[in-house]
Amino acid sequence: MRYFKCENLIEALGLLADPDTRFPLLAGGTDLIVQWRMGGRMPEGVIDIGALEEIRLIIQRENVIEIGAAVTHSMLIESNIVRRYCPVLVDACRTVGAVQIQNRGTIGGNIVNASPAGDTPPVLMAFDAKVELANLSGRRHVPLREFYLSYRKTALKPDELLTRIIIPKHGPDEKAGFYKIGTRKAQAISKVALCVRAKIAGGAVNDIAIALGSVAPTAVRAPKTEAFLKGKKLDSFAVDEAKRTLAAEIAPIDDIRSTADYRRFVAENLLARYLEKASDAF
């Protein structure tokens, strides 16, 4: 195996630019090493970006927070910036594997792994996060909700690398909730994950973003449910109708972990749980 241990981003991008050295990118390795093992063989080469300090930073800017792609889940959990501006991301990170995985696995890896059951994408989507994709010729920003094309397919071009995640700061008048229903109480893969961010005043929804994991081929937003809820007064009729709308717009499947019916049922109930709680809290 050809092992390229990159010392800076340009070096990594250079390797990616050359089809002869365009090998898988390795950061924490907690997904990739398992996948290689299950597949029975290692790749011919690896580009190790785990030690790139440039993408291991969490930075607060005026309107956004920026998270480097090689930031680990543990770094996020311990970050005061993240705790302040996106506490539900901390909640989600705490449910990624166990501490051993949180210490190695990176947020960039969690995103590009593109598993529909990934824990951080629903949160990032609900927060309208963008991902920064870079290659030798430059960088572009793609909203995370447009990043996933289909099951395990992303908008990353072969020579591109995910460098940063940019999360807009949302006002203190917004409340977010993250719920993950897993196969067991710790180190579980999700059956359903839901993140909702909303601005609710006087019992009415001013703004809402709903994102889910494990209910479609990729992490998804629920635009129809959001549209229905915007401007609605949160009474039991509205909650029921929101549940119905959500059930109709997600596409869960039966698999080894759960069933489509159960996932739909739980997704609805979790939304209702958030809405009921939120209308009290605001």
């Binding site: 398992v34 299950m38 029975g40 166990a98 229903i181 196969t183 067991r184 109480k185 710790a186 180190q187 579980a188 893969i189 080894i256 972990r257 759960s258 069933t259 019916d261 159960y262 049922f265 739980v266 109930n269 979790l270 209702a272 749980r273």
Partner: protein, 757 residues
């Protein structure tokens, strides 16, 4: 000395906490190669050809096929129907066809990828139903691996005499032992063309017997030694004989040591699981709760070969009527062959399946006749003098009722059960009980709570005449330095046998525990104590060691010409005069025990351990997630030789049973295991563990060593029914198939609403 009853620190503990203990994968031998098996990928059919890819350099490795087996191509267990390497017919996915050894594991795996098997595929038989219907006959003439029947009294008359008849069907899924150390063995060519083995195993002498036949060698040429074992739970009872066969065949052909260590996926794919079961109950009961007639039908999915299925079925069978008195009992059961990997031994050995059924059913009966589940159990609970389904009269050591009362009292069962009843039926006759503990934290919003109970027993030692036939041997050697060595083929696999047996010896001889050690189980050094299974080590082999100790004392006294004086001085003078002394004794069955294998009548077990579990659960109304908050376990083990280790068995066994009850389920598609990883086959973590409250009950067994009975399997028997009964108490929904996943509860709830609307 008071060694028994003390929490002696485990004698192998220091090695384990420092990482110095040598498990098989930690052992490296000079010139050692690594072995792998090329396996079938279809569940049923025939091998047409095996193609070795010429692009691989086959000169670098050693390949063995069935023609390289020196003796007979069979893995000897109860029957000889299982070949080591596929001969003609393929019976399940994962059967070995060809073996490969190479200097490195990587090269062996690379070689394996360069072998292609061509098949003729047949329609597989994948379910009990298809096997029973003889969709295709894959075993014998009717797919039945074994079958039993018991008739006691007159069941038809009993039903006529009943006020109510309650029926139920209960199902359980396959369960993986999930020992954290996967299976592994190293075989090396030994003296005189023989083979020496070391590995992860429960039963070295089973391997010895299997190899005698397979390699066509007398046992004098073979030695089988146990390495430190990283958990077994039955999973390393019979399967290591298969792995030992592979490694031995390769070692003989490669003329060098060959190590075979399974990775997790291979281990889960090919090793035995707990038998899936279907148990049907039809029970006649009086209005006052007295059981009058029990008609029980048991079906097990045996998988592709006989392995240990007949004895698993037998034990399941003998526990299926539960710890209850009933004058008229009919039990009929069979195990059916399917094209799945063979199922085998797993803690409880058939009893957890049938006890799940009867204990879930008892709650259904209680509901039908409007009685509390506690009261129904109290009325029918076995006591000394009562007769069991096989006609066995219980003569002593029956702690069932005390377990029931203590667990009920400690948990505040009756009060909590009534408080949680979704729909209260009938009038209370229950006693007022108070919990010893504060109630669990306040119920969370959006949840419902419930409490459930189960009462159960576990027969210690082999079924029926098994121990009498086995005549398990064990010994004590007085060493030159005055210390004592326990000689037994019984293995330490974490349960504590190699601490508990020395405790018994130290107690019997009146010496400190520090004077006693255990010889490594090695077939060339220790007597055959019988397998380390069936909750038999403490009760049966512990008893043999007591007899050895008495005999040793007698011999020492005789030599000294006096029967007084402490052991040390007697031993000292004996050693001076005559040197070391070895005493080996064989098990003598408990007097007055009679068992008839042909009629299945008599004393099925010399003694039973008894238990009562109470589960408190919380069910989330939005997600149907089931959280076990607390478990109360009152277990009668006769006498706790090492109370801390008894607790360890009960806590660990209970959590393993909770895994089976709530989340663990081997799922197959077309005979292929879908969840063959720890990522998809999930077992409980710390966060899934409830608060565990233990309650000790000791009804000594006069023929056990210092009163002790077995404890290894009992804790796996009661948690699952207690949990489903608690779920019913919380939600009104009776789950009759485990695991009781949120998905299953959700489906049952939908069905119920559909019916009521």
């Amino acid at each position: 000395m008071g060694v028994v009853g003390q929490n002696a620190v485990r004698l192998d503990g220091r090695e384990k906490v420092t990482g110095r203990a040598l498990y098989v994968d930690d052992i490296v031998m000079p010139g050692m190669w690594h072995g792998v098996a090329v396996r079938t990928t279809i569940p049923s059919g025939k091998v047409l050809s095996v193609v070795f890819d010429p692009r691989f350099n086959w000169k670098k490795v050693v390949v063995a096929d069935r023609h390289d087996i020196p003796g007979r191509n069979v893995v000897t267990m109860i029957e000889e129907d299982m070949p080591l390497l596929v001969h003609d017919e393929i019976r399940h996915i994962g059967e070995a066809i060809v073996l490969i050894a190479a200097p490195t594991k990587k090269m062996a795996e690379d070689a394996r990828r360069h072998v292609e098997i061509r098949y003729e595929e047949w329609q597989p038989v994948l379910t009990i139903e298809d096997s029973k219907a003889k969709k295709r006959v894959i075993h014998g003439s009717d797919n039945v691996i074994s079958r039993y029947k018991i008739d006691k009294g007159d069941v038809s008359a009993g039903f006529k005499d009943s006020d109510a008849i309650v029926e139920g069907v209960y199902r359980t899924g396959a369960q993986e032992q999930a020992y954290i150390e996967p299976q592994g063995i190293i075989a090396s060519p030994g003296k005189g063309g023989g083979v020496d083995l070391v590995g992860s195993m429960q039963c070295p002498f089973y391997i010895l017997k299997a190899l005698e036949r397979l390699l066509g060698m007398s046992e004098t040429k073979l030695s089988v030694k146990q390495a430190t074992v990283g958990g077994a739970f039955g999973g390393k009872e019979d399967y290591p004989s298969v792995l030992a066969g592979y490694a031995s065949v390769l070692a003989l052909k490669a003329k060098r040591p060959v190590k075979m260590i399974y990775d997790r996926n291979e281990d889960m794919n090919v090793t035995t699981k707990r038998h899936p079961s279907v148990v049907r109950h039809r029970t006649g009961v009086k209005k006052n709760g007295m059981l009058v007639a029990m008609d029980i039908g048991i079906e097990l999915d045996a998988g592709a070969y006989t392995t240990l299925t007949p004895v698993v079925l037998s034990r399941g069978f003998l526990h299926s009527a539960g710890p209850y008195r009933c004058p008229n009992v009919r039990i009929a059961g069979a195990a059916f062959a399917t094209n799945a990997p063979p199922n085998g031994a797993f803690r409880g050995f058939g009893a957890p399946q049938t006890l799940f059924a009867v204990e879930a059913h008892m709650d259904k009966i209680a509901e039908e006749i409007g009685m509390s589940p506690l009261e129904l159990r109290r009325i029918n609970c076995l006591k000394v003098g009562d007769e069991m389904a096989t006609g066995q009269i219980l003569k002593e050591s029956v702690g069932a009722l005390e377990c029931l009362e203590k667990a009920a009292a400690a948990s505040g069962f009756e009060r909590k059960w009534r408080a949680s009843l979704p729909l209260c039926k009938g009038e209370s006759e229950g006693i007022e009980v108070r919990s010893t503990l504060p109630d669990p934290p306040l119920q969370r919003e959006g949840t419902v709570r419930g409490i459930g109970i189960s009462l159960f027993m576990h027969g210690g030692g082999f079924t029926g005449s098994g121990e009498a036939k086995m005549k398990g041997k064990a010994g004590i050697r007085l060493e030159r330095d005055g210390k004592l060595t326990v000689l037994t083929g019984c293995t330490e696999m974490g349960q504590g046998a190699h601490t508990v047996l020395p405790q018994i010896v130290a107690e019997c001889l009146g010496v400190p525990l520090s004077c006693v050690r255990v010889e490594t189980p090695d077939t060339s050094k220790v007597p055959d104590s019988g397998p380390t299974v069936a909750s038999r080590v403490t009760m049966v082999i512990g008893k043999v060691l007591c007899v050895c100790a008495e005999e040793m004392k007698r011999r020492l006294s005789e030599a000294a010409g006096r029967d007084h004086g402490d052991f040390r001085s007697l031993a000292g003078s004996f050693l001076k005069k005559r040197g070391p002394l070895t005493i080996i004794e064989a098990y003598e069955p408990t007097p007055g025990i009679h068992w008839d294998d042909t009629t299945y009548h008599g004393d099925a077990y010399a003694a039973y351990s008894w238990g009562c579990d109470v589960a408190e659960v919380e069910v989330d109304k939005d997600t149907f997630e089931i959280k076990v908050e607390r478990m109360y376990m009152a277990h009668d083990v006769g006498r706790a030789v090492n109370p801390q280790m008894v607790e360890g068995q009960i806590e660990g066994g209970t959590l393993q049973a909770l895994g089976w009850a709530l989340m663990e389920d081997n799922r197959y598609d077309g005979g292929k295991l879908l969840n063959n990883r720890f990522q998809t086959y999930i077992i409980p973590t710390t966060m899934d563990t409830p608060f565990l409250e233990l309650i000790t009950v000791e009804h000594p067994f006069s023929h056990g060593p210092l009163g002790a009975k077995g404890v290894g399997e009992l804790p796996h028997d009661g948690a699952a029914p207690a949990v489903v009964n608690a779920i019913a108490n919380a939600t009104g929904i009776r789950i009759s198939e485990i695991p009781a996943t949120p998905e299953r509860l959700f489906e049952e709830c939908k069905k119920k609403h559909f019916r009521s609307s």
